[in-house]
Subunit: 325 residues, 2 copies
């Protein structure tokens, strides 16, 4: 199959490598031609995926419209770039697989809805789950979900990406899979704050458990299936993000918990921390849907209202006693 | 309140400390009087909870029947000792809280049923969740579930244990809470095997996600509520056990994955690895109930049938493609 990966970040590069190894013809596009040239010359994405040699058969295309001549596109872009790129691919009528995790603030839309709005002829899928790019690039076993409202598309994407070390499940709950992936970045910030404050595994396990309940409440109210949040894109992705040293969202939270100075940390990190804009969008979505989200609210208070991290965690821990829900 | 903690292990000692700090009168009983004397003399459980000074008001009682004169008992014993201890407390008619995690092989019973069989007059509860003893003893925030089929008992236990850093939720799904705590030890062995084989966070997140689905399938068929397994005693405890360096079950699995010699490892560790007997009991329970449990089956094959860990993980990862369930 002829596939183009849009976005030469760590994940886009790792997926391009995986797809070539699966026997496909793969072209990599990125918004920065100099960066593409460098990856091509070195056979390595030295900055974002160091130490991983890329197959010699990987193609590079600095022209977006030409890259979009493929049968299948993989959009592996930051959320703020996705809309702009999709707007340039109006006529594409193949399958586009989004790996971008986010919620649009104004509309409350997930990334597939942002794509659908711009690309009316495309069949849209999302790929989401607990997958650290460097581990996938090294061939370490992982599992992920391919979701599309159109079941044959979900199965098609499942077949395209599946390999012996990369097990792909399918789902038709596109919204749930996307919300799981997006919301987990908010909770990962909270997990990082716990780390930064010197709390332990117990605290984090309690947080993860409450976070899954909160994610499910919000997701179900938005129209997703409850069981999706117990799957790879909910629980699985949340778990790895909250415990992994590789997560930028968790690391950001850890700095916040330790140094308690959001403004300075933000300036340095905000462009790569998807959980930052997602926190604002998730809180607005929760308000609109009338869902109680104590963790999202406390993360919002820390990031946007100057609340002290210690106070935020204390407020979370001392809520009134109640039965588990 | 007058409380006796039965079992002077790490968790029993940590709970005794917590309960004293909550204003209760607490007596600690253990099967080894010399060990009790040593803890009493040093004001510290040097072997199992090093570096944690115990309150001077903690009482010690080497006589089990006298210790059982309290209003509330906390049974914090290895699963193989619980039946024997309970058999000596037939007349006790207060509340007994089990923190023991296991499944009886012959009957498929959880620990509360083992207690109920021996102590017909007691009101029985279980306390289970993601709580590493050393962290709780240090006052690091944690959350846990108090479960009893008798709701007022669940609430009573909730109130007795709750403190600002130890948040207790209540549940009436005693069976689900106990199965979550017991089964997680089996999956923790599998997670450790992944670590021992050099796999990454992705692999473990995938395993945890599938383990929760497997735990829920088995638990629901046994009569528990599905949502319990998304709570602290299911997901929460599983997560912390699979990622924590403090888990004996995970550590045991790690050695198995690295060295692949169950017999020698077993001899050295088996007495403290609750997941070892639980694997056998869980597999038998699954067979009896007709539930498909691929992870439990592979752990069983490694522990009891001499299967190579690498082969077991490969067999788990290469099962046929399917939709998430």
């Amino acid at each position: 199959m002829n596939i183009s990966v849009l976005g030469a970040g760590a994940w886009g590069t790792a997926l391009a490598k995986l797809l070539i190894e699966g026997g496909h013809t793969v072209t990599l596009w990125g918004h920065n031609p100099a960066n593409l040239d460098e990856i091509k010359a070195r056979h390595e994405n030295t900055r974002l995926l160091p130490g991983i040699p890329l197959p010699g058969s990987l193609l590079f295309e600095p022209d977006l419209e030409r890259a979009a001549g493929a049968e299948l596109l993989v959009a592996s872009l930051p959320s703020k770039a996705l809309d702009e790129v999709a707007a340039r691919l109006v006529d594409f009528n193949g399958v586009i697989v989004s790996t971008t995790k986010g919620i649009e603030f104004e509309s409350g839309h997930t990334m597939s809805a942002v794509i659908a709005h711009r690309m009316p002829h495309a069949r849209i899928a999302a790929l989401s789950g607990p997958t650290i790019a460097l581990e996938v690039a090294r061939g370490i076993p992982a599992a992920i979900v391919a979701a599309s409202e159109h079941e044959p598309t979900a199965r098609r994407v499942q077949e395209v990406f599946n390999s012996s070390a990369f097990r792909v499940y399918s789902s038709t709950d596109l919204l749930g899979v996307e919300l799981g992936g997006a919301l987990k970045n908010v909770f990962a910030i909270a997990a990082g704050v716990c780390d930064g404050l010197g709390f332990g595994d117990n605290t984090k396990a309690a947080l993860i458990t409450r976070a899954i309940a909160e994610m499910r409440r919000l997701g179900v109210k938005a129209g997703a299936h409850p069981e999706t949040f117990a799957g790879l894109s909910g629980l699985g992705d949340l778990t790895v993000t909250c415990f992994s040293r590789h997560s930028r969202n968790r690391t950001f939270g850890e700095k916040l918990g330790r140094d308690g100075r959001p403004e300075e940390i933000l300036t340095a990190m905000v462009s790569v921390v998807e959980g930052f804009p997602t926190t604002r969008a998730a809180r607005q979505l929760a308000h609109k849907l009338g869902v109680i989200t104590p963790i999202i609210d406390e993360v919002h208070a820390m990031l946007y209202e100057g609340k002290n991290p210690q106070e935020a965690v204390r407020d979370l821990m001392t809520r009134e006693l109640k039965a588990e829900d």
